[in-house]
Point group: C2
Chain length 350, copies 2
């Protein structure tokens, strides 16, 4: 079993029960996939918190934001015995051909002195706003450059799934920069510095008809407008990464190249982590790529849960050789593990 | 029948038989969907020309570019009796779950003194280049600003379908600016001037899972990098535009607003043209939209052909009130028709 991760004995670090609902009548269903950063001596998680209405027997209920509705939200309720209802995938409610999410996500901070024991904010930090986020915001990546934190996240609505950008310097005042990558896109992580004078990002469009859910690289003069798109890594038939793949957190500069921990899934929706090594001066050049995963769902809490057989990381902190990844396990809880940069590079043959 | 178009008696204006193949062994199968511009007193079409290998009995053959192959192209041939072959859609070859185009397209100029009788260039003007265009280039839009022609086109490869940008001032030297919008995207038309200091474009991403093939609007400081994406027009259930829609050529400035002729299809893949009117100062504001098509496939050559029941325009010239649209009919031939701006605005209730 190829697995270079040393899991925390304290896992899970954050569970749905640790989080206060954002409003009366909602349950916190999932805590997962945090963006991670260091600030003022602490480790911070910008977690995805998924909520749904308290469920009523015989029905399934979900929630969307709606500025015209009372309280700004609308509850949707479907009879479980309605033949038009399809709940095959626990993440979505399909009703008569229309897709709704089974929950709505916001982003919420948690912080820790030791990186293991976390205190969770009482309230959401960022919630979906406007017509491109009516189904919520998900899976933030956080990159700090020169004192500003850049938050790239998945904006979800009936218009599609794209990538939004929010910046802050103090985690109190936030500046919204709109959608920076149009549908269908997610898994966008910014490089922590300019390369050749340009900002660089990973992203994950979906090729329909041709192509697929591949990792792409793009460049920007200002972080708001993106171009020079290039395909960086594709799925590999008959492998652990045959179905989809996407970037994790910001890449890590090493003497050998930019090291990126990414996720990939097979056709059974088993999500593992792998590594990419990219040229320091031209990160569109892939120097090495994992043949086997560097982390797989092996612990019981990674194998069973809301959506089992999933490890998914989009944030980490680095101390010399040690990467501490914070990750969603079974799409339900937040866990931690450490990886050695040297061991990852060795696994890549570097 | 809602149809405001006056078709040219001379239609079709360009047919596949009018075009010399780009190389030995290929047949020109389709001529369609031209970008249109005026230059040096003539009307120019930048046509899409689709070619495929001369077909051999018992087989279907297609072609892709491949820098490692002799002559830079590779011929793919499939036995017609192979059970893994699916030719249901004439535009694609599906073999054992992998999709190929049934032809490869390049862009080629044609020109005319009177806008009706066209002379076709002997050779391709622009061909697919590099890993993002190995399946060709399609459906160009041409916008002139300050003496530079901006060509936005569909770049097709096994990596996906995205939007490329090429510029020229003399139609001899071309500058390639790479992919400006990542997969899955097409139908990108630039506004002919900046609005509020920014360049503006229509584009047509595909929302997967949520959203759909809708018209979006984006802004750019430099035409190379795009952001501030907003959804402009969605499909409308149980209508002529229930399945997909996308922008046509560059929008036309009128005193009432930006007038855009767009295409849309129903679930039977019947493609019609409609009109959108957008606020002059903030084109993300839709002032009016066609309830019924302004042009429908009604002529015999629009109803029958390679892909019947299609009128599709991505280019036009304007003389005061008169728009001359050049359009692909049945995805096979290029035709012309005139429309009155006043009549379109009247149909929008303006």
């Amino acid at each position: 079993m190829a697995d270079l991760a040393r899991r925390f004995a304290e896992n899970p670090l954050v569970r749905p029960g640790d989080v206060r609902p954002s409003r009366e009548g909602l349950d916190v269903q999932l805590t997962l996939n945090p963006g991670v950063f260091r600030w003022q001596g602490k480790v911070y998680l910008l977690m995805r918190v998924a909520e749904r209405p308290k469920q009523v027997e015989g029905f399934v209920s979900t929630i969307v934001t709606d500025p015209d509705a009372e309280g700004g939200v609308r509850i949707l309720r479907f009879r479980l015995d309605d033949p038009g209802l399809d709940l095959t995938d626990p993440r979505i409610i399909n009703y008569q051909g229309t897709t709704y999410l089974s929950s709505i996500s916001h982003l919420r901070l948690a912080w820790s002195q030791d990186g293991v024991h976390f205190q969770v904010a009482d309230k959401p930090t960022l919630v979906g706003t406007g017509p491109l986020e009516s189904y919520g915001v998900e899976d933030a990546r956080v990159t700090e450059m020169e004192g500003t934190f850049y938050i790239t996240y998945t904006a979800v609505s009936e218009n599609g799934i794209g990538v939004g950008l929010i910046t802050t310097t103090d985690w109190q005042a936030f500046h919204r920069h709109g959608m920076i990558l149009p549908p269908t896109n997610k898994d966008t992580a910014l490089f922590p510095e300019r390369v050749g004078g340009m900002y660089v990002a990973f992203h994950r469009p979906i090729g329909v008809w041709l192509g697929g859910p591949y990792i792409w690289l793009s460049r920007s003069p200002d972080l708001l407008h993106w171009g020079d798109h290039a395909c960086l890594a594709r799925t590999i038939p008959n492998s652990w990464e045959e179905q989809r793949l996407g970037a994790g957190g910001p890449p890590i500069r090493t003497p050998e190249g930019w090291l990126e921990i990414y996720h990939a899934a097979n056709f059974e929706h088993r999500y593992c982590l792998g590594a990419l090594l990219l040229d320091l001066d031209d990160p569109s050049q892939v120097l090495a790529r994992s043949k086997e995963p560097i982390m797989e769902p092996t612990a019981a809490y990674e194998r069973q849960g809301f959506f089992g057989e999933v490890v998914f990381s989009n944030g980490h902190v680095v101390d010399r050789d040690q990467i501490t990844v914070y990750y969603g396990a079974s799409d339900e809880i937040i866990c931690g593990a450490t990886l050695s940069i040297r061991e990852i590079l060795d696994s890549l043959g570097m």
